[in-house]
Structures are given as C-alpha cells and as structure tokens.
Symmetry: C2
Subunit: 475 residues, 2 copies
C-alpha cells in the first residue's frame, strides 16, 4: 500500500483564496509551473475541460454559420499601427521575434484582428462575399507586466477569436449581442457559472472597437472575472485595412465588423468558483470524467469486487468513467485523490454492496452518500449528475445575487467593496471619473454599464446621469 | 447572373505539378498567402479537413490511453543545448523572442521534446508514474531556409506531437511501431493515401533519437512526401533532463521515451495526390462536406425545384451537405466551383428529375453521372461515397506500386529516378555513402531502410550489405 502523501491543501478557501487557488491547481493536476515566467503547463485534467468547451462551442459556431480557420502566428509590426486605438492598446504587451527578414519586426499574436483583416481585404470584393464569419482556436501571447496567475492571467493562453464582417451597423450589433448571449448561456449551461452581461464603459472598451459587451462572473473574494467579450468594431478596421465591397447599388462600401473571444481563463473560473477545501469541484457537463468507480478491496472478496467494478465500468461508458483499480493505493487515498480532482460522483463497490445488489454513490459537491440498486444505477447517476449541475449553478447564483449591492457615495462604495460585493453606482461615463473611482477604491473599476430610466447623481462628479456602473476589483 | 470569373487552373497537372499545386490551393480556397514570407493562411475549406483528421486521431489517442495537454510555446535556449544531437539538428531553424527576462533567449517551439521533458522530470518519480503518454495539438515554428510551399513546407504549421515515457526499450519500440502503423492506417482509411513504412537511415534519424520510423507517400512527380514519423528516443533525453524513477527494485532508472507526429502537411498530400485538372478531389471520409446539392433553376419551376432541394438537404444531413441555392450564379458556374473544391458527389435536381421522381448524381473523381430514384438516394450516396474512397485509394496504390523499382548501379538509379520512381538499392548505411548518393543524383535521399535476408553490393561503396534503401527526391 502506497504511503499516503500529504496531498491536502495548505489553507482553507475562505482564509486565503489566492493561496488556496494556486495550491488546488497544482494538486488537482490542472496546471503546473513552466520554466519561463508568466507561462504555464495545461495538464490533461484541465485540457479535457477545454476540449469539452471547444466541442460545445463548435456546435454554437455551426449554428451561427461561423467557420473555423487558421491565420499566421506572426504579425508585421506595421499592422498594429494601422488602427490607432488598437495600436495604443496592444503596444505595451507585444513580444517580437528577432528573425524577421521583412524589414520590420514581427509580433507574436496577442489577438488577430489585424492579420485576419489583411486577408479579409483580399477576400471581400462584392456584396456576395459578406457576411463573412470565421473563428480560430489558437494560442496568443501578451507580455503581461501585472502579476500572473495560472489560467486567470498568463503570458500565453489558449482562446477562440471570432471575426465577422457585415454590410450594416445593425447586423454587427446583432452579432455582437447574440455572441455575448451565447457566451453567457455556455457559462450557465456548461460551466454552472452565473454571469452579469452588459456593455463596457468607454474607458474599458476594446482598443479599436465602437462598443464592447462583456460577461462578468463574481469570485468568492468579491473580485469580478471577465469571462468573455464581444465587440462591435464599427468601420475603424475596415477603413485602416481597406475592407470594402461593391454593393448591389454598384457603389463601394466599407464593412462593419465584430470580434469576440473567450479563453482558457474559464478553467480558472471553474476552479475558483466551485472548489472547496478538498479540491476542485467539476460541473458534470464540462467534466472529462463524470464518475470514478472505486472498488473496495478485502483479501477474500477482491476477485468478486473487481469483476463487478469492471461490469459497472462497461455499463456506464456514457459517463466516461475512471475505474481506479490500482492495488497499491488504499481506498481512502483514492477518495482523497478524486475529491481533489473534483470528479462529480464517486461510485463505491464493496463486498457488502454486492451482497445487497447495490452500489454506493457519493456526490463530490455535498459529500452526500446514497445506496442505489444495481439495476437502477445508470438512471440514478444521470439524474444525480443533472442535480449536481443545477445545484452548483444555484449556489453560485445565490452568491452572486446576494453580493450585488448599490451605493450613493464614494464612502459607501468603499464599504460595500470591503464586503466583497459588486456595487452599482450612478457614474458619469468619462475616463476621468473612472480613474478617480479607481484611485479612491484602491483599484476597483467599472465592470459593465447599465442604461437606466431614472436619473441619478454620479458618485464622483456629482453630474446627473442615467448610467449605472457595476464597480468591483477584477482579476 | 454573375459573370463567370476565369477560375480555371492555369496549367495541367501533368505539365507543371508545382504551379498546378499552388494554383489549385489558392483557387480551391484551401490556402492563401500571408503577408510574411514562408507563412500561410489555412482557409476554412482546408481547416475542415484538419478537424476531421483531429477527430479521427483523437479516437486513436484514446484507444492508446494517450491524453491531450498543452505546454508552453516559448522554450529557454539552454533547453535545446541539453541533448547534443537535438541541439545540432534544430539550432539552424530556431527563432527567438526579444523580450526574455530570464537571462537567456527564448525560442519559438519547433518541437516540444525539451519543454515537455522538463515537466516529465518533475512528474515522474516512481514506477507507478509510468507509462506516461501525452499528446498536444499546436502550432510550431521552424525558420526554414529552403523554398517554402503551402502545407508542404512552411515556417509555421499545425501538428500533433505525442510524447511517451516507458520503463523499457522494448515498450518504447513497441510504442514507436504501433503509432507509425496507426499513421499508416489513418493515411489509408481516412485520406486514401498509400504509404511505405519503414525505419529511417542513421543519417535521416530524428536529432536526438535512437531510431526513427516513417511513412512515405509518393507524389505524381516521383518525389516522396514524409507523412509522419515516430521515434524511439532511447534514454538520451532522460539523461539530459534527468527523468528517472524509483523502480519496484527500489533502484533509480532512467525512462525510455518516444515521440511521434504528423502535421497539416497531410492536407498538401491530399491535394497533390488526388487532384486533377479541374481542382482538388477530396476523399469522402475526410471531406468536410460529402455532397453538394445544386438545384437547376428554370423560371417556371424554380419554386418546385427549390422545395425538393431543401427536402433533400434535410434528408441527407449525415453527409453534411452544401445546398447551393444562390440565385445569381449559373448552374455551370456552380459545377465548376464545387469541382474545383473537390466535393465528392454533386447532386443535381431539376424539373425533369422531379417529373421522374429521381435525382442525378455526379462523381467528382470520375465525372460519371447516374440517375437514382428519390427513395433510394440516401443509400446510393452512402455506397457511392465508399466506392469513391476505395477507388481513390486503389488508383493511388496502383501508381505507387508501379513506381517502385530497383537499381544496381548509380547510373541505373539516376535513370529510374528520371522515370519518377522510388528506387530500391543496396546501400551501406553511412552518412558518407548517403551524401555521395545525394550528390550523384542531384538531391535524392534514402527515404527508408529495409533489412533484407539476401546480401547485395552497395551501389556507392561496393560494400557487401543486407540493407536496402528506398531512394527518391523528397518534399
């Protein structure tokens, strides 16, 4: 029997979320450190989540007639200078290769608007060529100067980026909206993560975009986590990259564009939101393995138990089960291991279960144990998986709802932020006001903006406005 | 009706394969040029092939208990220096970023042995931790100095790279062999590409490996195309990166390792091998869309034809059909378009077909036309797709078999190479002999080595040997 390694987590989640988070990622084998600062290794247990996210979202892309493609990783520096706001936004985060023979530096892609729109300018000639809707799954590099944190902020991450071109602003707006709502639906249905959706303030809008929409989740420490954004790019890139088409009116028109993306950051959100002191807790729908079967061995019944465990393993293939039949680890060690890794249901099968023609099911999220007769096990597990998925969402939603508050002064805002809340305030939407709020709160920013019917007083400038900002610190 | 653009291919395939190839890739919208030398855009029509290859091979990976993961794109320069042969092999092709803060340059990944084995050295401690089997799908950068060609040789390409560690040489050999055979089976079953399989000569072995196995396809111009390789890495990396484990014998042992990979080069192979003067020809199993439905419009029957075409489209979803219902393109223009793009079967439906309760099927590979009654159309298409897949393979295999020859002198070798053949010769397996053959033939190399029972005379050195080399020029 293997000596039990001390695999427990060093601190409790509610004592030091940051340390708990890093420790959990390493011990649940989701991530590991890389030899280069700000980079990470995405281990198989986490990559399986990403594959399920990809699979889910590829269906969504198909529904929206978006096609996958792949564009070059290296981008001429001059491309970033064509769209002035975009250039300003991304310049500090660009890394360059030395080997360019093009007479200019080549940047490692931080996002692909520029390189993709160079192609679009060649492909779009006629009104028949639009709408054009493409997406790519790829790695991107942003030379972050801020402190990095696995999944949440790293110098390399994986993501999808969708890029569409339309003939009108209305179509672009519709696409921006429908994709951010798809993101919100995915967060809800697949990841059990409730989010707030809305538009970004001007100061927080994507560099080069007309409008940005965002979905924001609330982490247990009261910090917001931006989980995906969708942009109406207007015609800025179209003009900079000369993407125009001859309309049915025989005249030349610039296209209206959108881009939208989410990243492996979502894996961090799953871990941080649902995890507990025993490890991570995977929502069943996104979990690579929905169940783990642990046979309980005793000398005299080992064969019999093993046989039954294998039967179960074959029967429950739709759950992509793990059969942990290792002989040199104790049952207790295995329980800890799979709890750490967040497998939604543990199926125990021991000699007593066999006698009673039953198996024992243990929920990862609540620890609740139940016996179920062998013949009903498939149906019961399916139902239980749905219950776990729902309950995780309900718990998270309850937390989110109970942590939205409002304030009518800077002082009140600061107090509410202390209570780990995301705080609604009337805000005059200018960079100066946002900067002042940030300074006064030690770094909180407007996460999204809501247009409201009733006028109110900006907590910073005193102006009368009809815009409410959701304020929080953010990852 | 759109004026018919001149979309035909400039040259015939058998007149100038190279120009035909590039032209076909562009016009079939598989690839486009990138603004940076040696890079390319993989357009949706080609990316769909890559997705089908990924899907096929992910099942194979699962069968072999290989798990997907993702490792950093940037690799410290020092990592490449740890394994001497590997360093020598890859140094000329490395590109570096400028932004390193690590006190050394960071290379853009050309292959990931070093960065992955750095992790393996942390993860492997006990005999319980092996075998370890991982794969990653990613982009790699090799700063090629040779002339580049879309898909076949580019500075960036997409690939999979598998990396396994075992406790014995025999297991590593077994893994190397079984994976190269999986590659050969995939080329055969999915891509309709026949290949030769065997080991590489010492001179052609992967830098840092003990043994390399390869699958090689033969292109219409008599050049070989390496379609995938599998390496037994021995213990070289294990020693350089200190990947060792405590065995059941309580002693420390180094692991035995393998790596294996194939790339988007396979898309180039499909295009070059199966294409004809009308465009590319997609093997049905790898095609994103297996069929295209083209309604034949006449003023008085447009509605009726359109209705029937939509019915067919809904009925044949398993073929992922395209319904080309564009009003402003003629039927002839559409036929050319989809022939260019290689869709395996065109389904025509016109007023006469409706009268006779039939549809017309046209095979892309042979152009053969047939009518089939409406009620049998699904079954007939399924059968026809299988036939096309088989026929493409049979044709390619016939070509390959009829272009394998042998020679017993350098003079004869040169003559046979002129006849676009891959030529078997007795060869003394030394770098000097290989260099001499390369020089004498204007660049032909040993593609793979066969051990034979009967001794023969090396065509270059005159030595008596039992090794036969397959000689060809290569992409």
């Amino acid at each position: 029997m293997k000596e039990k390694e001390s695999k427990g987590i060093k601190v409790k989640k509610n004592e030091d979320l940051s340390e708990w988070y890093t420790d959990v990622l390493l011990k649940a084998e989701l991530a590991d450190y890389a030899p280069i600062r700000g980079f990470m290794v995405i281990r198989p247990h986490a990559y399986a989540l990403w594959e399920n996210i990809q699979s889910y979202f590829n269906d969504i892309l198909k529904k929206h007639a978006v096609k996958n493609a792949y564009f070059p990783f290296l981008i001429p520096e001059s491309f970033f200078k064509k769209e002035a706001e975009h250039a300003k936004g991304f310049a500090p985060e660009l890394a360059y290769v030395q080997e360019s023979e093009e007479g200019e530096r080549l940047a490692l892609r931080p996002t692909s608007e520029t390189i993709i729109y160079d192609s679009y300018s060649k492909w779009i000639r006629s009104h028949r060529d639009i709408p054009i809707k493409m997406n790519q799954w790829c790695n991107v590099i942003r030379w972050e100067v801020k402190q990095t944190k696995p999944f949440l902020r790293t110098r390399e991450f994986l993501w999808q980026e969708g890029h569409c071109a339309f003939s009108s602003e209305a179509e672009a707006d519709e696409d921006m909206r429908s994709m951010i709502l798809e993101y919100q639906a995915m967060a809800r249905e697949l990841l059990a993560i409730p989010t707030l959706v809305g538009r970004k303030s001007k100061a927080e809008t994507f560099p080069g975009a007309l409008r940005t929409m965002t979905i924001e989740a609330l982490m247990p420490d009261g910090k917001a986590l931006q989980c995906g954004t969708s942009h109406n790019l207007g015609q800025g890139f179209a003009k900079s990259f000369n993407i125009s088409y001859k309309g049915e009116d025989e005249k030349d028109h610039y296209v209206w564009q959108t881009s939208w993306g989410f990243s492996t950051r979502l894996i961090g959100a799953i871990a941080m939101l649902h995890g507990d002191d025993k490890g991570i807790v995977l929502p069943p729908k996104v979990a690579g393995n929905k169940i783990v079967i642990v046979p309980i061995f005793f000398e005299d019944s080992r064969e019999k138990v093993m046989k039954k465990a294998r039967e179960l393993h074959n029967k429950l293939t739709s759950c992509n089960p793990i059969l942990d039949d290792r002989m040199d680890y104790s049952a207790g060690w295995k329980f800890n291991e799979w709890e750490m890794k967040g497998i939604p249901i543990r199926v125990e099968i021991g000699p007593k279960d066999i006698e009673k023609k039953q198996v024992t099911l243990v929920r990862r999220d609540t620890g609740k144990k139940e016996s179920v007769s062998e013949k009903d096990v498939g149906k019961r597990i399916a139902k239980l998986l749905d219950e776990i998925q729902d309950d995780l969402y309900q718990r998270a939603e309850k937390f989110l709802k109970s942590h939205i508050d409002s304030a009518s002064s800077l002082k009140e805002l600061k107090e509410k932020l202390q209570e780990k809340k995301i705080v609604k305030v009337y805000m005059h939407e200018t960079p100066e006001v946002e900067e002042a709020i940030k300074a006064a709160t030690g770094g909180a920013t407007s996460r999204l903006i809501e247009e409201v019917g009733k006028e109110g007083t900006c907590i910073q400038s005193g102006m009368k406005v009809k815009t409410v900002a959701y304020i929080a610190k953010a990852y």
